[in-house]
Structure formats: structure tokens, C-alpha cells
Symmetry: C2
Subunit: 654 residues, 2 copies
């Protein structure tokens, strides 16, 4: 698999005939040319699938849309550390239609375990998963799970469909070369097999006929031989008719032997996509090096899934979301917007004295957690008592170093800032070492801290100190002036525990890295590259499930008006796409994870060779040079990762 | 139904909260709010369909794409003359997902006859047809037939699907108001009903069990009573087991009474779209007033459908295409490109002495036909003999006035022009009244007829006379300078039978009217408005089936490289979209038909009030003012048609 942009590279040649195009016929001879292809109806069980579909591989950073044009199929070769997820896509496009109606055809997708020469395995369903890439607003985004090891994919005429193959390598997986394959087989579509099965009305008729046979022979005791023989003859005749009926037509023609070919369509007619994975000895840290705290609206969950705040179903729903999100190496916090821009944020819905609290907050995958300022579920306590007790319990725990308080979203004027100070003072009274996080993109607008906006923004730490420890600023403020990051950092005092974090929300917009729908794949992944290069020590994103209000789990997803598409939405309710209740990740959430994993590679490299060399690696591979200068192709990412692997693997391994 | 552009009108409001969007939650309350909606699983048989889908109507000139946003559902009101086709679209978008897997759900589409108060009918399946709008390259274009009166439509999450409803009013249809409805009902999807039906393996088991029952009782003659009773008991027991098996589970629970609800899902839960059609007494002429001659590549048919040139299957294939295309009021000609830009064009594949010739050429719907210059299928005749005999036979016929010869596609230099003259002389030797058509967009480039290109182009009639009667020029030459049409016309001598026709092919491009994919609906329809306004008396289009070469009927459609998408393609092979062999029209072909019908309205109006008033009607409705100034909305079209109806209907009717 070579590099790849988000758009097709098959160039349209210059117009060869201005004279109406008629002479152009036959320019391209790359069409379906197999002389064995039946000219009228196509039986996929008799043809090699490569006659029916194009299949080719694409990197995880590519946006493979319905109009994407075929490329050459090449084997997949991936590199992964332990405790890492790597993904790749396989695009499929029909060359012909072979299904009866409205669709082009059905392809069976079958995956094997990946095996190493020493007999170790990455097991399908555990390590290896397959999802279908579903467009949202016409842009490939939702990743809807497919069953493994075998599932079916519907193809439409003139449309490219992609599947997303992920491999999760556990931290105990032995390093080595693993090999497996993904097998694509054009099959008869469900519609046709439906035609071969018995419908309700037919079944009902069959039932009635058999029932009357039974009625005829049922009360048989005490009947005379003649009568019994008559009845048996009648039943025999009925049964014969039933067996000769259309319900069984194609069966009795086979003399009772059922053609089992349908069940086992994988054969020498399949397209086999070879997948090689190198697992190396590096183990990504259980706790991500860079906390990425991501907001989850509890209100959205309450409305859509119909769970009442504080009910047992509510706790269950939040628990499901929390656990599902942890696999993406992010640190979720639940969020409710209150009056003004006050926010009530909490990572654990249960109070600190509940057993669940330790389970949540000491989970090694959680890099940071939000402590609520007031009760999440009213308990009779005053807010003050609640806060005091929470803090007193939590500060005794080992995981307290991960705690932060997020109280106000983007204070804009003196009153807002006063609100932050007030709450922070209260918290610090109970725990002087508590970390308050404040998000902002400007100073108070009614009391300018400096003569221009950027200078005023720079003075916020001085203005807020000691009431904030984590100064979390919008990347939008920096624009393409990366050098401004140095000015921001200069205002932060790490010696007293202060940190600089950043966030993206509506801004920055294209071409800067962000997670809006329709941006390039590398642009999504570069959000984290940017954080690492600028030197922030944490990252915040305001919402991962903030679609428009709905009161039915399967209601269509509508992005909130006034926001760029995809902003505030990193995953979807599973019910929108199937009967599954498991959330559905977006490509963008996967790319957030990939970006976090890239940071671990860069960090490993820097730990060996220094941060300057790490920055040089970013630059010399062309992966990331600045908010407007990052790769559009996948290749530099693989080059960076390959270089870290080459230079950092321990010599004892592989 | 109000006016409508090709894009969504639901405006996105200005951003209300710059502060991250969190406050925006609940802005729009237009979501699914029915408190009766089940919160977990949705049974479409228990809910009004309007809870599950949005449905709204759109005019035929709208391009309804997958991302189109819902509007209010209003009743449909149409006007049609006799011998006219009118179409309208119904867009459907799921509000929720109610199907088990990968799709949002299934909607049943049911149509009724349209009835007048006096008991006249427009019958479903004959007059009323329904097609599904299928995107090509992401743009709504192909119209794939749905079964009537009932069919099913699959909806996908977050995607708008449109159906195209057409009413063909015959020339014998009594004028009046007709009413009917199109009923949309959310139903359980096939996947679910499949789950309720018996698969092959289950059927096989059932077959085996019944077969063994039969074996037990079959040889019964001569057996003792005891043995017969034993056998009967064994059969009874087997039958009981069969009847209690899962194959019949939900049937015997109902005590044998089958729930027929599935078959008759239309109910008070359906969305009913009311359709009113006013048929007026005007009868569109059987023979279109403006000949629109459209090229069909016979080579494309030969390759894709695997029919050998001149074979009986070949004649059948051409016959099918010819008859199907006639319904669009166009005059097809088959076309083969030969050396240089010579073309062999012929409307009837059979020679003039074949009975099929008269059937084809005297068809009243055919406004013009191409006579081949040389044998289409070699017959042993010399080309010269063939031409002479064809002409001698045809010129005796009544339909000879419709004949033309199209010999060369866009001659570019003296040698080309000499070729035209040579062939034309030969034809005129046999028939001095034969019409030669020549397409061109410039004079000979090696012997300039004037000092600038446009002047040279204007001099072509003088240069070619008397070897051409139909001067067919590219609309591209005129650009937005409509006034140039007068200069062209000034060079034409109608008194000696000369005509001016026009054509579009690659050019002109947007914003001028043409039939490229992705242009506005009114832009497609305006191709014909332009012809009428400029005063041409005929129109040519080079190709309606000129997609890239393929040798399988169902091979995917690829547009030819170097041409704008859709150029040269007005319909598709049915096999690409379903098992049907009937060609599939594009929206653009329907809009070509609508444009031709608009010309009949304008012609009727002009015949009563003069051409100047006809032109004023175009202008005052805002329908068409020039190649860059035509309506983007549908409303002006309805206003124009309504005005013609109001002013031209005979007082005895309605």
C-alpha cells in the first residue's frame, strides 16, 4: 500500500477529441473483459470475485468516499507496538451488478486470525475487528461493526464501500511477524436466497396440510384394518403432494441432497487480501502520557435513551459510555451546562465514598478525571458539604494526582472570572493541592489586561493565579503563529504545578487541524501532533456526543445548528445504524486515538534522543511542520513510526 | 408544493454561542417528540409513519440528493395536457432507524388510480408509474422503476431518498380533475420477515422428516392391523413433532390463524400524499413540433449486450432501444463513427424495402429520421447501389419529408468539407429534395472564410450551399450572446428549404443550459427553452448511451474520460440497477422530454397570440430570459404552463 491522499489520484486526461467525443469510444480498455463472463445473468459462484469487484487497500488516514476510484490491490503491511491499535481500510467497488434488484451485489467478508511463525496468534473478534465505513452527510465517518469472522456487505452500483480493519495488540502479545488474510467473495445476495425460502403464507399452508394429516391418523385405536389402511392411504397421498409442492421444489429435484455451497462460499474464487503485522517490543504506557479529556453530555444521553437523571438506568447508561470510551485512550468527563457558562463536570457519576468511585478513578487507562463541584445527583447534602466530603475522600487516594476541577467554560468578563476565583478558593480551602482547570481564549472583555487582545490573553495566568493550575487555551488563538506558543508557555509556572493545555472546538477551521467532518484524515490526526509539537501537557475537547436533541435512541443524528458539521460529535448511538446498542465510533475518534499513539512514539524517541531530535523527526519525515504544513499523505506517518521502531527497539527482540 | 431550488432552503442560523456550542443544546425542538414512541425498539406497525419518516414533495426540476433536508408535506397539484407526461418527486428521509441492521428502515410505497368525479381513471401501472431516484457519481440521476401499485423502498440513516412519480395522459383521456394518493407506510424490513421465513437448511430438514413419514406408511397393503397401527402411531408422533418444531412456532401459537397484517400494512398509520391532476383539453401533437434527433451508439450496444452486428439478436436489441426511446418524444438515430469524423447514421436498421422500414419511419412520434449513406449491414450491394435504392424507395413515401442525411460530424478543414459536398452531390443526384444535415462550430480552418472566427462560422451556409439543407450549429458558439442567433438565421434561406438547428455536447458549460450531471434541473430543461427562443427548428444531441466500453450488460457505468460527467449519456442499461433489461432513464432525459413539452405549450400560445407574445410570456414569468438568465426555481414553469392553460383552453371544456 503506497501513500494516499483523501481524493482520487487517477487523473482525468486532457480532452482528446473536441469534436463531440464520439471518437473517444474505446479510449480506456480497463473495463470488464473476462470472456468467461456470462453475458446475460451472472452467477457469482462460478466466477472469480475479481471479475465482479475491484478491491484495494487504503491507510486509516484516507477518507474513502462512495466516488473513490479503484487502485491496484497490494498486500497490507502494518507496524504496531503492544497496547496499540492499528487500522487499515479495504475499499470495494462493484465492476458489474450481479444481484437481482436495486443493489449491485453482496460480498462476503471473512477474516482469519493473524499467526506468527512461532505459533502466536491475534485472534479474530478479540484482536481483529472489522467495521463498515458509513458516510454521514455524504462524508465517510461512522464505523459500524461487522460480525467476524464472516459477514456480508452490500454493494451499490457505481459506489465504493470501505471496511475498516483494526488490530488491537495487547500488552502481553509476543513481538514478531504476524500474518493473516481478509477474504472477499462475491456471493448471491440475500434477496435471492429469500426467494428460495418459505414465507409465512406458504408456511401456514404447509402447517394446515400437515395438521389435517395428523387429524386423519390421530384417533386410530380401535379402528378396523380397512379404515386404518384407507386413512393411511389418504395421509400418504397428502404427504406425497406436500413433498411435491413448490415449497420443496428445488430440494426434491436434487433428490433430497441439499446444495451446501451457499454456506461455504469462500473458495478459490475469492479475493485474498494479505495482511502482515509486525508487533514490536515497545509497550505503549497503560496510562496515556498526554491526558485528552473529552466531554460527554449527560443531558444528551438522558434525552435520547430515555433515562431519568439519577435512576439506576441512568447510571447504567453512563457506565456503558464511560467504559466504551476508555478504549480510545481518552479521559471522559460527563458534563452539564448550567446558568451562564458554568459547567458541572464529573468523570464518575457516583460520589467518592461509593465503591464505583475507586474503580473508575484508579483505572490505569484514565489519565485525568474531573471532580464535580456540586452533587451530580441530589442527595440531601448541601453543595458545600458535598464538595468538602468529595475532596477529603479523594485527596487521600493515590489517583488524586489525576484529579482536576473544570468549573467554567470560557469566562469572558470580570463577573465570570470572579465566579472561577470564588469556586476555586472554596476548593483550595479543602485541598490546597487541588488542580483547577480553566478554558479561555481571551481576557475579561470589560477590564482589558493589556492594550491588545493577544497581550490580554497572555496575561490571564497572572490574572487568575493562584485560582487556576491548568491554563487551557484555544488553538484558534494561535492560528498559524506557532511561535506564540512560546509566549504562552513563558507565562506558565510549572514549578508551582501549573500546566498549559489546549483545546479545539468550532475553531480553528480548515486548513488547521481539527475534527470537523470533511477535513482530511491527516488533518484529524494532526490535532495531537500539534499538541505535542507546541508542548502542551494536556488537551480538552468539549463534546463527543453533542448532536441535536432527540428522544429516541435510533433517531437520526442531526448536528447542532451553527456548528461546523461533526463539531462536538465523535461517536454515534449504535441504534441509528443497527439494532446494536453499542456506540459507533467515528473515523475522527479513531484518528484521535492514532494521534495519541503517535505521541507515545514521539515521546519514546525523545526519551532516547532528546526532544529536539523528536521535533526534527517530525520535520524530516514531513509529517508535521506547523498548523498549515502537515502531510496530506499517509506515507510520512509510516516513515516516522518506522524510524522510531528501527531506532528504539531493543536488540534482544525480533 | 411551492417553488424549490436544487439546494436546501432551510437556512443555517448564525452561530448563537461562540463559547464552544455547549449552550446550543436544545435550539431546535423539531426532533422526534411523540411520547408514544417506544424508547428501545420500534415496531413500525404500531406507530404512525410520520413518526418514523419525513416525507415531502418536490418538483421534477429539483435535484433531490441524499443530503436534502426535510420540508413541509403539502399536497401535489399538477396540470397536464393530453398526450403529455408530468412528473413530481416525493422525498423521504428517516427520522429514526427501525430496522434491525445497516438500514434505517423500509417504507412501502403504494399508489392508487387517479379518478375524476365523472368516473374516469388514470390507471396505476399504465398512466401512473413510480421510479426510484438513484445517484450517479453522487448526483441524483438514474430513475430505476419500482413496482406498482405496491413496492418497497429501503431508507438509510441520515439519507434522503426520492421517488419520481410520472403520469402519462393519453390523447383519449377525458379532461377533468383527477385525484389519487400515494401512500407511504413504514414497515418491518425484509431482513426481519426473512427471519420469520424458512431457510434452505430448515426446509431440507422438514423435507427429510416428511419423506421418512411417507416411507413408514407407503408400503401398507398386506400389513397386519398391529403393524399398521404401530406405523401410524410412529407417523403421528413424527408429525406432531414437526408441527411443534420452531419452523412453525409463531404459527401454532396463533392457533393456526396467520396474522395477515404483514401483507396489508397500509392503514391509518400511513402517510397519505394527495395528488390532484388537472387534465385539459389540449392534445400535444403526436409528432413533436421540434425534431430532437438523438444519437445512439450501436457499437456500445454491440459490446455491452454481446450482440453481433447484423445478427437477429442485434436487430432485436436495436429495436428495443428504438421503441423505448420514442416515449421521450425524441427521434433516435443509430450511429457508428467511421474514419475521420465520418458518421454512419440510420434511424432504421433494416433497409428501405423491409417491412420494418415503414413501421419505423411512419411512426407518428418520430419527427425526423436519418437515412444511411451506405449499407448498415453488408448485403453484397455496393454502397452506391444501396444508396440509390434506399433513396428511390424512401422518396416515394409520405414520411420522406422527415428524412435527413447526417454524414459528417463537425467538418474542420477543406478536405472534410469536400467530403460532405461529394456525398451530398451523390445523394442529391438521386433525390434533389433530400435534406443533408451538417453539424459545425467553425469554418474550414485551412481556408478562412472571413477575418475572424465568428464571421467565418457565419459564412458556412454560403460556403456549403447547396450541399447542406440543415445547418446545425453548436450552442457553444453563441455563448451568452443570444443576439448572434439573428446573424446565423440571416444566413439561412428557408425559401429553398434551409433550416437552422442547434446542438449541445461538451459545451456550453455551466451556467449555460446543457445536460451535464450536476447542473440544475431547470438548466437541463432550459436546453429546449433556449432552442425555442433562439428560433431553431430542430435539435441534435450526439449520444445518449455513450458510456465507456464494457462487455457485460450489468458492468458499472463509467463516463468517458475527457468528457464532462453525463455528457453523451441520457439513459442506462437496466441491468446495472436490477435484473430488469428495460433501459433506465436519467432525470436529464425526463427533463429533455419536459422541455419538448414546454415548446408545445409555447407554440400553442404563440399560435393564438403571436410569437412576440410567446417570448413575452417566457420573459414575464421569469422562466427563460437568456442562456445565463433562466429560473432556478420551478414556480415560473408552472406559471407559464398555467397561463397557457388559462388562455388557450377551449371554453366548452372544464
Amino acid at each position: 500500500m503506497e501513500n494516499s491522499g483523501s481524493h482520487q489520484e487517477t487523473a482525468v486526461p486532457p480532452v482528446e477529441g473536441v469534436a463531440g467525443g464520439g471518437t473517444a469510444y474505446g479510449w480506456s480498455e480497463s473495463g470488464v473483459e473476462d470472456p468467461n463472463l456470462l453475458r446475460v445473468s451472472i452467477d457469482p459462484l462460478k466466477l472469480h470475485s475479481s471479475n465482479l469487484v475491484h478491491a484495494w487497500c487504503m491507510p486509516s488516514s484516507a477518507n474513502v468516499g462512495p466516488q473513490d476510484m479503484p487502485r491496484t490491490l497490494e498486500p497490507i503491511s502494518l507496524l504496531a507496538a503492544r497496547n496499540e491499535r492499528e487500522s487499515v481500510q479495504i475499499a470495494i467497488r462493484p465492476k458489474v451488478s450481479w444481484a437481482g434488484s436495486s443493489i449491485a451485489g453482496t460480498v462476503q467478508v471473512q477474516c482469519s486470525d493473524l499467526c506468527s511463525t512461532s505459533g502466536d496468534r491475534l485472534v479474530v473478534g478479540e484482536s481483529l475487528t472489522v467495521r463498515r465505513v458509513v458516510p454521514v452527510l455524504g462524508v465517510p465517518d461512522a464505523l459500524v461493526p461487522l460480525e467476524v469472522p464472516v459477514s456480508q456487505l452490500t454493494l451499490f452500483p457505481g459506489e465504493t464501500t470501505a471496511i475498516w480493519v483494526s488490530i488491537d495488540v495487547s500488552n502481553r502479545q509476543p513481538p514478531g511477524q504476524y500474518e493473516g488474510e481478509i477474504i472477499l467473495t462475491a456471493i448471491r445476495s440475500d434477496a435471492e436466497s429469500t426467494a428460495q425460502s418459505l414465507g409465512k403464507a406458504e408456511r401456514h399452508q404447509l402447517y394446515t396440510e400437515l395438521r389435517s394429516c395428523l387429524d386423519v391418523v390421530e384417533p386410530i385405536e380401535g379402528k378396523s384394518l380397512d379404515e386404518v389402511v384407507d386413512r393411511v392411504k389418504s395421509v400418504s397421498s397428502s404427504l406425497r403432494n406436500v413433498l411435491l409442492s413448490p415449497s420443496f421444489s428445488n430440494l426434491y429435484l436434487d433428490n433430497g441432497s441439499v446444495d451446501m455451497m451457499d454456506e461455504d462460499a469462500t473458495s478459490n474464487l475469492s479475493i485474498r487480501v494479505k495482511l502482515t503485522l509486525t508487533v514490536w517490543d515497545f509497550i505503549l504506557p497503560a496510562t496515556p502520557s498526554l491526558p485528552a479529556v473529552i466531554g460527554i453530555s449527560d443531558t444528551v444521553i438522558e434525552d435520547r435513551f430515555g433515562v431519568e437523571h439519577g435512576s439506576s438506568k441512568w447510571y447504567e447508561a453512563l457506565d456503558q459510555h464511560f467504559k466504551w470510551l476508555l478504549q480510545f485512550k481518552i479521559s471522559p468527563y460527563f458534563c452539564r451546562w448550567r446558568e451562564g457558562m458554568r459547567v458541572l463536570t464529573y468523570t464518575c457519576p457516583w460520589p467518592a465514598d461509593h465503591p464505583k468511585s475507586d474503580e473508575y478513578l484508579s483505572d490505569p487507562r484514565l489519565a485525568a478525571y474531573a471532580v464535580p463541584y456540586s452533587p451530580v445527583v441530589s442527595s440531601g447534602d448541601t453543595a458545600k458539604d458535598f464538595l468538602q466530603r468529595e475532596v477529603e475522600i479523594l485527596r487521600t487516594k493515590d489517583h488524586w494526582r489525576k484529579a482536576y476541577f473544570y468549573l467554567w467554560d470560557e469566562p469572558l468578563n470580570l463577573e465570570h472570572y470572579e465566579g472561577v476565583r470564588h469556586m476555586a478558593s472554596e476548593i483550595h480551602a479543602y485541598a490546597p493541592d487541588a488542580r483547577i482547570m480553566t478554558t479561555y481564549y481571551c481576557g475579561p472583555n470589560d477590564a482589558p489586561l493589556a492594550s491588545n487582545n493577544f497581550e490580554a490573553f497572555l496575561k490571564v495566568p497572572e490574572f487568575l493565579r493562584p485560582h487556576t493550575q491548568i491554563y487551557c487555551t484555544s488553538e484558534w488563538v494561535i492560528g498559524n503563529r506557532e511561535d506564540l506558543a512560546k509566549d504562552i508557555i513563558a507565562e506558565i509556572q510549572p514549578e508551582i504545578g501549573e500546566e498549559w493545555w489546549t483545546y479545539v472546538c468550532m475553531g480553528p477551521s480548515d486548513p488547521h487541524p481539527n475534527w470537523h467532518l470533511g477535513m482530511r484524515g491527516t488533518q484529524h490526526r494532526a490535532v495531537m501532533w500539534r499538541v505535542w509539537k507546541e508542548g502542551g501537557t494536556g488537551f480538552l475537547y468539549w463534546g463527543a456526543n453533542c448532536y441535536e436533541k432527540a428522544t429516541v435512541p435510533s433517531a437520526e443524528i442531526r448536528f447542532r445548528r451553527g456548528l461546523p458539521p461533526g463539531d462536538g460529535v465523535l461517536y454515534y448511538p449504535g441504534q441509528v445504524f443497527s439494532s446494536s446498542q453499542e456506540p459507533v465510533a467515528s473515523l475522527r475518534l479513531e484518528r484521535l486515538l492514532s494521534g495519541l499513539q503517535d505521541i507515545e512514539y514521539l515521546k519514546l524517541y525523545s526519551s532516547r534522543y532528546g526532544r529536539e531530535e523528536g521535533l526534527r523527526l517530525l520535520e524530516k519525515t514531513g509529517m508535521y511542520l506547523g498548523p498549515e504544513r502537515y502531510t496530506h499523505e499517509h506515507m510520512p506517518i509510516d516513515v516516522m513510526r518506522g524510524e522510531v521502531f528501527r531506532t528504539c527497539q531493543s536488540e534482544t527482540n525480533l
